[in-house]
């Protein structure tokens, strides 16, 4: 079974600075996918970034990038040049291709002006 763990319930960052959110996962499978979702106060879950486990290259989407450490089973999200609109709950999620998404506990990110 897959498990996903986020050990930081809350994080804060100054506007324009960089912040890294941590996530670890545990699976014995080789074919799996990892995601970061953002949930702003509107509650609409937004897919931020996606990583395929078999790809060595870390995924990037504009100011968002991941540090995927396969051996360490770590999948952290880096947000560069943080903006006020980045304030949200962030969920790490993952699973094998034939399974359902498993989510971590979430990290509440505050962006200070």
């Amino acid at each position: 079974a897959q498990t996903v763990t986020q050990s930081q319930p809350e994080m804060s960052v100054q506007e324009a600075e960089t912040v890294t959110l941590s996530c670890t996962y545990d699976t014995s499978e080789s074919d799996y996918y990892l995601f970061w979702y953002k949930q702003p106060p509107s509650r609409q879950m937004i897919l931020v970034i996606r990583q395929e486990a078999y790809k060595q290259q870390n995924a990037t989407e504009n100011r968002f990038s991941v540090n995927f450490q396969k051996a360490a089973k770590s999948f952290s999200l880096k947000i560069s040049d943080s903006q006020l609109g980045d304030a949200a709950m962030y969920f790490c999620a993952g699973g094998t291709s034939g399974s359902r998404l498993t989510f971590g506990e979430g990290t509440q990110l505050t962006v200070n002006p």
Partner: protein, 114 residues
């Protein structure tokens, strides 16, 4: 864009009531899911469905049932609501059976059972 619509943003129900949470998606997705979101616990899968009239239990199905009579609609049913079912409920859908591209979520229904 795919849209997943949950009929109620907020609901308040009494203990023992039968509660229906409705979810509709408009992009012909085969697969639909119900999650429960609680602080410190993240999202936990209650039930899911890969086809009309098909349902499978997730990780926490106790106290819940589901109905999928039409492809676009997936209902979560609380047969006899209890206070420990006070939570945020999120519906999601996906085109492909696997998780390869993630899910599209609705905006959630915050249910309070008093």
């Amino acid at each position: 864009d795919v849209k997943v619509t949950q009929s109620s943003r907020y609901l308040v129900k009494r203990t023992g009531e039968k509660v229906f949470l409705e979810c509709v998606q408009d992009m012909d997705h085969e697969n639909m899911f119900w999650y429960r979101q609680d602080p410190g616990l993240g999202l936990r899968l209650i039930y899911f469905s890969y086809d009309v009239k098909m349902k499978e239990k997730g990780d926490i199905p106790e106290g819940y049932s589901v109905s999928r009579e039409k492809k676009e609609r997936f209902s979560l049913i609380l047969e006899s609501a209890s206070t420990n079912q006070t939570s945020m409920y999120l519906c999601a859908s996906s085109l492909v059976r696997g998780i390869n591209y993630g899910y599209t979520f609705g905006s959630g229904t915050r249910l309070t059972v008093v």
